[in-house]
């Protein structure tokens, strides 16, 4: 007989320690997979987790990759903490990039210090508006936000497809599905010459600070946390549930929109169909790995970004299939959920006598 019981006294320290256990288990699990695939596990893990960041360029690429993940995950943490399951950050990112990119294209042949801020704000507003759709439908029509936000991802991707193929395609681009290159005034300033790391990282850091402040120092943050722990309590306390849902979705959407704008005005420099390799979905793993804590999310975004870079390096040096990167991301989430389960629940194996069983 197996019996599962809830634990009552879970130490907070352990709660923040389990993500590390999950990462260690992932590395061990990865080693086993590499071994089964016929690679030297130590060497493979070295190419996976150390080689990509063994020089300044690699480290800057890690930060570049982690920036959108961190931004989106910070936004998602507001939703998830308050029991709002926004799965559509990818769509909000895309729509933010569309709106921000539209503004950048408006100024394609102009210079001016005001252009980039306009583009960034437009992107944040775009993401915000797109996140408001599932939020409004949820608050006023009782729809399921998981479904609505997820389906809207495809809507925004198809809209982007339409725009870059049709009305926004580069008139001198032989009909290739891409827009003009943005002017330098709508590009994120680079931090160092020769590296791609750009000012967008400050947006992510600002989001981390701001979210910490809102979550832990304001009444709104208190409402969010209480709603997350118990909706009934929140109602009893008289919190305005509807406003809060709208606000957390707007924050989440704005962050995703900023991530989208950061990509197109940073390393990409134009709109085309492949602006995000599913950052919006990967950021869900980041948010949970970071325990929905602003500083935890910084750490988590770096770890998950490393799985992307590692997958490339391991393929270049050892020809390990690139999809192991996704396997690693899946394993991290799996081990995290598993260790959470064991953290919050006790598994008891009861020794019953034979006749008792028969009875």
């Amino acid at each position: 007989m197996i019996k599962i019981e809830k634990r009552n006294d879970v130490p907070m320290a352990l709660y923040f320690f389990t993500p590390f256990i999950a990462i260690i288990l992932t590395i061990l699990g990865g080693g086993i997979i590499f071994y089964i695939l016929g690679f030297n596990p130590i060497e493979a893990l070295k190419f996976y987790f150390i080689t990509p960041i063994s020089n300044l360029y690699g480290f800057s690429e890690l930060l570049l990759k982690a920036t959108p993940l961190c931004l989106i995950a910070i936004g998602l943490s507001f939703c998830f903490k308050s029991n709002n399951w926004n799965i559509g950050a990818e769509g909000q990112l895309t729509f933010g990039a569309i709106v921000g990119g539209g503004v950048a294209l408006l100024f394609y042949n102009q210079e001016g210090f005001y252009i980039l801020p306009l583009v960034i704000i437009a992107g944040a507003i775009g993401g915000m508006i797109f996140a408001l759709i599932p939020a409004i439908l949820k608050t006023y029509f009782n729809t399921n936000e998981i479904l609505v936000s997820l389906m809207l991802v495809y809507v925004s991707k198809l809209l982007l497809d339409y725009l870059v193929v049709g009305p926004w395609s580069n008139p001198e681009g032989f009909n290739f599905p891409e827009t003009r290159q943005f002017s330098d005034s709508s590009r994120m300033p680079l931090l160092f010459e020769g590296l791609r790391i750009h000012a967008g990282i400050f947006l992510a850091l600002a989001a981390v600070m701001l979210s910490w402040f809102i979550l832990y120092k304001t009444y709104l943050g208190f409402q969010i946390k209480v709603s997350g722990l118990s909706l009934k309590t929140a109602k009893y306390a008289g919190f305005k549930g509807k406003t809060m849902i709208l606000v957390v979705f707007m924050i989440s959407g704005a962050c995703a929109g900023l991530a989208g704008v950061g990509e197109i005005t940073g390393p990409i420099g134009q709109l085309h169909r492949m602006i995000s390799p599913d950052y919006g979905f990967t950021a869900i793993i980041v948010a949970f790995l970071g325990r929905l804590n602003p500083f935890g999310i910084i750490f988590a975004s770096l770890v998950v970004a490393l799985t992307y870079l590692g997958a490339e390096t391991a393929q270049i040096f050892l020809q390990i299939p690139k999809y192991t990167g996704q396997v690693f991301q899946g394993m991290i989430l799996f081990f995290l959920l598993a260790s959470d389960y064991l953290l919050f629940f006790k598994v008891k194996i009861l020794n019953l006598k034979k006749n008792e069983l028969r009875h």
Partner: protein, 354 residues
Amino acid sequence: MYKNFFRYLISAIFLLGFSVNSNADFKVGFVYVGPTGDHGWTFQHHEGRNAVEAAGIKTTFVESVPEGADAERVIRQLAQSGHDLIFTTSFGYMDPTNKVAKDFPNVKFEHATGYKREHSNVSTYSARFYEGRTLLGHIAGKMTKTNTIGYIASFPIPEVIRGINAMTLAAQKVNPNIKTKIVWVFTWYDPGKEAEAAQALIDQGADVIMQHTDSTAPVQTAEKAGVWSFGQASDMQRFAPKSILTSIIDDWAPYYVERAIAARDGTWKQQDTWHGLKEGMVAMGPYNSAMGADLVKEVEQLQKDLASGKVHSFTGPIYDQKGNILVADGKVADDGMLAGMSVYVKGVEGDIPK
């Protein structure tokens, strides 16, 4: 002060890359847009890589590299890790390839299907797929009973429009009543969408289906519906043995081997390559016996004539949809016109999406 420090540090890192370069063995890197098992575009580039490997040259490949921000890092890493020649095999890698090439003047770059060669170490190459389309048009014109040819198109870029036009012109030559119906799917690889497009064309009366997309879904749909089809990029016969009349095969192997050896021996020079049936970059799959011996013979002769230059896919008179003359009687279209082709010829239905 800080800026200078970083500048030196970065150059030091790059130099480190170079020093590895000159000491290590000669290596060739490949960047693929899809998985090596797509049985289409990437599969054929991978076959080309296998040929380079068979010629005794070490190679590395990275598959499924998105055409967004990641491409530049992958290309740069290949350059940094001692690869001397790098093939980037999708149009979307054009800007990243040129950007990395600037920082690695000693590494050679070959970009497929692009037109930008901003630095002397960047070459571009593509194939005259339209010559294969001419053969397909000839066969389709003879085989169709409904006089309707269904065409699954990806993006309205010159390469795709050239294929549609070449096919239509050749089909009209053997069957003046031919109509070409087109469905634009706006993707290079999406089996679901491609299958739907094939079905839509079949429902509109097309009894010959061809595709400018990479999955095997259209030929499989055609096989089920009992209509004719053609394989794209690789020999797709085994996916639809009854339906496939032949396939246009992209054979990159000879070019890859030649360029790899040239780079190794120091004779590599920047060039813009556009090879066709003559050089073997475009090849045809086996012809289906259902075509009948006479038609097979005809097509084989046409294939020889296209290869030798006796016949050109775009020989005048050619008219656009409105009846304006595009190529005068007795003239052939020059490469400049082919490279920028953006209007349909007479006989194609519908408008180019804008």
